[in-house]
Symmetry: C2
Subunit: 139 residues, 2 copies
């Protein structure tokens, strides 16, 4: 009956995300898995990602329609994401206080918060210093 445990495929997807320096889309992962499982379909990828998300091992990046692995050090709650629009890297900022401030703010207006999504686009230290200031900021 109980089978919400992670299987080999789940672990493989998690490994892909851990190895990547940028968020990967579900279809990036699909392509990656096709080497080992040629007939795997999008549904299977999304089912795995849902499981991994519940386990706190991956987090979806809403503004990129993509996925990242969560560092094992961090607690299982979602974190604040700093997304570099230049190199695509995503830093996970462990700022419980900030998340609390956000949920407090909406609570103050009578809302009952459940799942905060906090993503900040901009440029990482390296990209900010390296290149000229003219940039495009994709959604």
């Amino acid at each position: 009956m109980a089978a919400n445990l992670l299987n080999a495929r789940d672990m493989a997807l998690h490994a892909c995300l851990c190895a990547a320096s940028r968020p990967l889309s579900a279809y990036d992962l699909l392509d990656a898995r096709r080497a080992a499982e040629p007939r795997i379909a999008p549904t299977a990828i999304y089912r795995s990602l849902t499981k991994l998300e519940k386990a706190g091992l991956v987090q979806r990046v809403a503004t990129l329609n993509a996925w990242i692995a969560r560092p094992p050090k961090l607690p299982a709650e979602p974190s604040v994401l700093a997304i570099c629009d230049s190199c695509g890297a995503v830093e996970q900022v462990a700022e419980a206080g900030v998340i609390q401030a956000v949920t407090d703010a909406v609570t103050r207006s009578g809302f009952h918060p459940n799942r905060p999504v906090i993503e900040v686009h901009g440029h990482c230290t390296r990209c900010e210093s390296e290149t000229d200031p003219i940039r495009s900021a994709p959604r």
Copy 2:
């Protein structure tokens, strides 16, 4: 040369969003506009939405792939969104301090913030009190 002004179509889309009690997808807007402009295509909708967003009149809801009108009272900057997963309503919380706290947090880790996206899913006052606590929380 100058023609970044809003045209009748832009205003019509804005009016649709103002009249709606929930966020509308670009394709909801497309369907709505088809009554007046039967041959209008998705591209036109997105071009209008981009213009309206730059003008501070609409805001995209990243976690819903949908759009809302911004209350004229609020400044043109994006606001914190409180999204009810039960009735679908979105409240725009004007909490400049919270947004500042978020950008400060990522700045502290060396990031150069540019565009914060803060969306909190949960339940509004009415839905929280009205119904039983078993709910689904769509992405």
